[in-house]
C-alpha cells in the first residue's frame, strides 16, 4: 500500500528554528549566522567587529566548532559572553542545527543583549541548508580562496543577506581577480551587499559596522 506523506525531511529542524525565531523576537535580539569555509577569518573579523560595537551594542557569541575551544578562548578576550558548542559532542556534525543553538542560547542571559552572533562551523555546504532561527546570514569569503567559490557553493551565496570579502590586505601579493569574484557573487545574488575588508588592518570595516548597526536597530523596533 502507498502512504502519502508530503513532508519536509528537515521539518523537525525547521519547527525548532521557528521556535528559536519567536524566542529571539521576544528578547529583541538580532541573531546573525556567520558562515564561511574554514580559515576565511570569521573569528578574526568577530574580534575586530565586537571591539567596534562595544559598548554601544551589547553582543554575545555562540561559537560552533568540531573540536577545540580555541575560537571561544580568543573571543572571550573581547569581554562579551561566549558559549562554545563542540559539535563533536553531537556526533561531529558539519553544521549547527536549531536545537543545538537553542541549547547554547539558554546558557546566555539575553535580557540586555541586542546582537547574538552565531559563528557556524567552517563549511560552505551544510550550514546553508539548516535554519537556526537567525535574522541575517553572512558569508565570509577570503581572497586567498578561489574566485569561483560562489559558483561552486551557490546555495550558500544565495541564502545569505550580505557577504564579507576578507583579507583584502593580501591582494597585492595574490593573483586573485577581485572583479571576477564580485561578478560571480552578483550572478548568484545580484542585490546582496558585499563588504570588502581586512580583519588584519581593519580597512573597510566602517561600512560593514554601519550595516550591522542598522540591522540591530531595525530589529529593536520590529
Amino acid at each position: 500500500m502507498e502512504v502519502k506523506l508530503v513532508k519536509k525531511v528537515l521539518s523537525v529542524n525547521d519547527t525548532m528554528a521557528q521556535q528559536n525565531r519567536q524566542f529571539f523576537l521576544e528578547k529583541k535580539v538580532l541573531v546573525l549566522n556567520m558562515m564561511s569555509s574554514p580559515g576565511a577569518g570569521k573569528t578574526a573579523i568577530l574580534e575586530k567587529t565586537i571591539k567596534r560595537l562595544l559598548p554601544e551594542i551589547k553582543t554575545a557569541v555562540i561559537v560552533g566548532d568540531i573540536c577545540t575551544t580555541n575560537d571561544a578562548d580568543r573571543l572571550i578576550k573581547t569581554g562579551v559572553p561566549v558559549v562554545q558548542i563542540c559539535t563533536d559532542q553531537f556526533g561531529g556534525d558539519c553544521h549547527l542545527a536549531a536545537h543545538v543553538v537553542r541549547n547554547a542560547a539558554s546558557d546566555l542571559n539575553l535580557d540586555h543583549v541586542q546582537l547574538l552572533i552565531v559563528e557556524n562551523v567552517g563549511n560552505l555546504v551544510c550550514p546553508a541548508e539548516f535554519d537556526i532561527g537567525e535574522d541575517v546570514r553572512i558569508v565570509v569569503l577570503s581572497v586567498t580562496e578561489g574566485e569561483d567559490k560562489p559558483l561552486k557553493y551557490p546555495l550558500m551565496f544565495r541564502v545569505c543577506d550580505a557577504a564579507l570579502l576578507n583579507k583584502t590586505d593580501l591582494l597585492p601579493y595574490l593573483d586573485f581577480d577581485k572583479e571576477t569574484v564580485l561578478k560571480n557573487i552578483r550572478q548568484i545574488h545580484p542585490d546582496m551587499p558585499v563588504f570588502e575588508l581586512s580583519a588584519k588592518t581593519e580597512e573597510g570595516f566602517s561600512d560593514w559596522i554601519e550595516w550591522l548597526k542598522n540591522e540591530v536597530e531595525k530589529k529593536r523596533y520590529e
Binding site: 502512504v3 502519502k4 508530503v6 555546504v125 546555495l155 550572478q187 542585490d191
Partner: protein, 117 residues
C-alpha cells in the same frame, strides 16, 4: 556532508508513518523530491540510507529520488525559466530581483509499505 543525518531523519519519518495495523511491515519504496540546489548528494544519501536503515522496517527499501530543477521567476517582468547554471539574473530584462520557485526541495512524498509474509 550531512547526508547521514538526513538519512536518519528519513528513517524516523518513514517509521512513524507506517500504518499501525500492518503486521511485520516492510517498506518497499520511499519516494523523495530533492531540489538541484539542495545541499544533498543523491549517491551519498543512498549510501547513508543503506547503512542506517539496517534492522529497521525500511531496510532494503528503494530510495526513489526525483530531482527537481531550479525554476526562477523575475519579480520585475514575471519572466520565468529553468536555471541550468547558478545564474540568477533575469534572462529577459537583466533584473537581479529573482525568486527561486523550486530547487530547494527535500521532501518525502510517499512510501510504499507491505506486510512481510
Amino acid at each position: 556532508m550531512h547526508e547521514m543525518g538526513i538519512a536518519m531523519e528519513i528513517i524516523k519519518i518513514v517509521t512513524d508513518s507506517i500504518p499501525k495495523h500492518l503486521k511485520n511491515p516492510k517498506v518497499e519504496k520511499i519516494n523523495l523530491k530533492v531540489g538541484k540546489l539542495a545541499a544533498v548528494v543523491p549517491e551519498s544519501l543512498r549510501f547513508c540510507f543503506e547503512v542506517v536503515s539496517q534492522n529497521t522496517p525500511a531496510e532494503g527499501a528503494l530510495l526513489h529520488i526525483e530531482e527537481i530543477p531550479v525554476n526562477a521567476m523575475c519579480q520585475s517582468c514575471s519572466y520565468s525559466w529553468t536555471a541550468i547554471e547558478p545564474v540568477f539574473i533575469c534572462e529577459k530584462c537583466n533584473s537581479g530581483s529573482v525568486d527561486l520557485l523550486t530547487g530547494r526541495e527535500l521532501d518525502i512524498v510517499s512510501i510504499e509499505v507491505e506486510e512481510d509474509g
